[in-house]
């Protein structure tokens, strides 16, 4: 049973373009939650230590750090603006006191170090406390500077900038399980980087045709396998997923496995290809499965079986008869993401009208919930929602025609260990928790 916990962001309906949330990601421990927005900013929330007295809820998330990750740029050669929108954030596993994350816009990836400072040196001999230099002739005694506590300051500093490697728009970044390398994928190419080296990257996938007029397929997402550091997958706009092994050759143009489900001829339409385009691909934590999201469904694939998914969940099948209108208003091109829970037993994805859906793989039950400020009393249990596809609408159901297609939930994230989820509406971040009894 899911309960409202918190909501972050502006209350008013007039959404500033720069505040539109474009990515959400928990770190490996779940203590930190990062969001990126269209204005190029990253906001990191930190979970406060569990309050032992109030044992019925887990710690709240409060702002920990805010920084401007990317700025708008101008490509003078093409006369085009490069958007500062943060497309993806990926956390590195923590190695020391500082936290590291990769953030990317369309063209440039940056490695950020987030560190805490809670003490500062005091008692310099040659400097006053405010920084002014002392006249050396006034120094009569010497002292050793000491660290004294200060108010916690969280600093973010860019440690690496990985630029000029992508002609097309970066859609994915993924850190390898070796924690030394990572990949970045744009529409036509995938590059492999070393986290320490910024002036070089290796191109490992290139699907650009010699003649651009022959272009019919693009890369939509890519991810490294969670355990095998030589394996990665990438998905395409034609609904295929290719698994590649970097040991096979330097340029992984030939896939090791090709995952594709044959088309259902009874559902064929002019929109079949568009709705088969995969908007997100995520490995399960175990590494045995991967999940893909296309326009209408979520599919779970067993890495050992290429010819069809092992599970398919319909997210909003009632939209199938509305595809032409959704094509007209461009909603059919919306890129929904998906995510696994910590134990790989439940998957979650977003929909329209600020609805999001969860599918329990074991019980085969699914639920539709809404991220709305109407339910914003802490620990209010969320009421399941239902969309009425056709016919008589029952009480409490919402008809397809009443859905607000401007309210879309594209980005969701699940805490790696606990039942806490972060759901991004256009400009608000909702945090929900499973009821703890």
């Amino acid at each position: 049973m899911w309960c409202f916990s918190q909501v972050k962001g502006a209350v008013d309906d007039d959404v500033a373009e720069a505040d539109i949330i474009s990515t959400v990601e928990f770190n490996h421990s779940g203590e930190l939650l990062a969001t990126g927005d269209k204005g190029g900013r990253v906001v990191i929330f930190q979970q406060e230590q569990e309050n032992k007295i109030q044992s019925h809820s887990r710690g709240e998330y409060n702002v920990y750090s805010t920084f401007q990750s990317h700025e708008p740029e101008f490509d003078y050669l093409k006369s085009l603006e490069i958007e500062e929108k943060i497309n993806k954030i990926r956390w590195l596993p923590q190695k020391n006191a500082a936290q590291f994350l990769l953030s990317t816009n369309d063209k440039t990836i940056k490695l950020w170090k987030i560190s805490e400072r809670d003490k500062r040196p005091e008692g310099y001999n040659l400097k006053e406390e405010d920084g002014r230099y002392r006249d050396p002739t006034t120094v009569t005694t010497l002292r050793v500077p000491v660290f004294r506590p200060m108010d916690l300051m969280v600093e973010a500093s860019p440690r690496r900038i990985f630029a000029n490697a992508h002609t097309y728009h970066i859609n994915s970044i993924s850190i390898n399980s070796d924690y030394e390398t990572y990949l970045s994928a744009d529409d036509l190419r995938i590059n492999l980087w070393h986290l320490e080296i910024t002036d070089r990257s290796f191109n490992i996938v290139d699907i650009k045709p010699a003649n651009m007029e022959e272009l019919t397929e693009v890369i939509t997402a890519a991810e490294f396998h969670p355990n095998s550091c030589n394996t990665f997958v990438y998905s395409s706009s034609k609904g295929t997923i290719r698994l590649c092994d970097m040991r096979a050759s330097a340029l992984c143009d030939r896939h090791s496995k090709l995952f594709e489900e044959p088309e259902d001829p009874s559902n064929r339409s002019f929109f079949s290809e568009i709705i088969s385009s995969i908007s997100d691909v995520k490995f399960s934590h175990s590494g045995r499965y991967m999940m893909t999201r296309d326009y209408l469904s979520v599919k779970i694939w067993d890495l050992n079986m290429e010819n069809r998914p092992v599970e398919t969940y319909q997210v909003h099948e009632y939209l199938r008869s509305k595809l032409c209108s959704l094509y007209e208003n461009d909603c059919i091109f919306d890129k929904f993401e998906c995510c696994w829970n910590g134990s790989d037993s439940v998957v979650m994805t977003g929909s329209y009208n600020n609805f999001f859906r969860m599918f329990d793989r074991n019980t085969k039950r699914d639920i539709t919930l809404e991220a709305s400020r109407e339910n914003n009393k802490p620990r209010t249990v969320l009421k399941p929602r239902k969309v009425c596809a056709s016919g008589k609408r029952k009480k409490d159901e919402i008809s397809v025609d009443s859905l607000d297609f401007n309210k879309k939930i594209l980005h969701t994230a699940w805490h790696p260990k606990e039942n806490i989820i972060a759901v991004a509406t256009t400009n608000n971040l909702y945090i929900f928790q499973d009821k703890v009894n």
Binding site: F270, S321, E328
Partner: protein
């Protein structure tokens, strides 16, 4: 639900009228609907061509859709607009009449001004058209989509424009002609039921099919027709300029 401010006329009636009426409502011809989808797709391709930097995935998907329609129309041998129907409820007539309107206008003016183009940014329409017509085969390039007398040749023109769009995605010549399409009448008919091949379980009410969405503003119909031609002009313009 989708067009701003437009309410589906008969949303309330759907529950009252059962399947009885369904049989009496002839669904608009598939080829007509398919043509509308083609037109919509072409507009989208051009619109995305105008924006800051086109989303390549979206462009590829739309272009593939256009190719699919093109292939199907070629197989059917219907690579032409349907001849004006004598029957018609209002919307069908409207579609047909704009076609006639366009045809007669083209015949009237040798050079007609491309609509909505800001004078500041773009070459004079007269010079464009004459350049275009001289570069093309004797057939008026506008015919390539609207009227297919010679399918193969016009398919070539069409394919060329499609390819040019992709080429220019790489070597983009930005033109701030977004206002070109600001008047576009985008109230396409309800194509859902026919084109997706899926009939929603509710019996089609009187509003499904062509009558689904009333036009936004009737006076805009002629200007929207002009802009439709204008967009093809623009494709040819890219062809010639780059």
């Amino acid at each position: 639900m989708f067009a701003r401010g437009l309410k589906r006329k008969c949303a309330d009636h759907e529950e009252d009228m059962g399947g009885a009426l369904a049989g009496f409502r002839a669904v608009p011809s598939y080829s007509l609907q398919r043509q509308s989808l083609l037109d919509m797709s072409l507009v989208k391709l051009q619109l995305c061509h105008m924006l800051v930097e086109p989303n390549l995935c979206r462009s590829v998907l739309i272009a593939n859709t256009v190719r699919q329609i093109q292939e199907e129309m070629t197989q059917d041998g219907t690579w032409r607009v349907a001849a004006p129907q004598s029957t018609g409820r209002a919307p069908l007539d409207r579609l047909v009449s704009t076609e006639i309107l366009c045809r007669s206008m083209r015949e009237q003016d040798g050079v007609h001004p491309a609509p909505g183009m800001g004078d500041d940014h773009v070459l004079g329409p007269g010079s464009e058209l004459s350049t275009v017509t001289s570069a093309q085969t004797p057939r008026d390039p506008q015919n390539s989509v609207w009227e297919m007398d010679s399918p193969r040749e016009n398919r070539g023109n069409f394919q060329k424009s499609l390819d040019q769009i992709f080429e220019t995605l790489e070597t983009r010549n930005p033109s701030s002609a977004e206002e070109l399409f600001s008047d576009m009448d985008s109230s396409y008919y309800d194509l859902d039921t026919v084109l997706t091949g899926v009939v929603s379980r509710a019996e089609p009410g009187p509003c499904d099919g062509l009558q689904g969405l009333p036009p936004v503003a009737t006076p805009a119909s002629s200007s929207s027709c002009k802009s439709d031609l204008g967009e093809l002009d623009h494709v040819m313009e890219i062809l010639v300029e780059t």
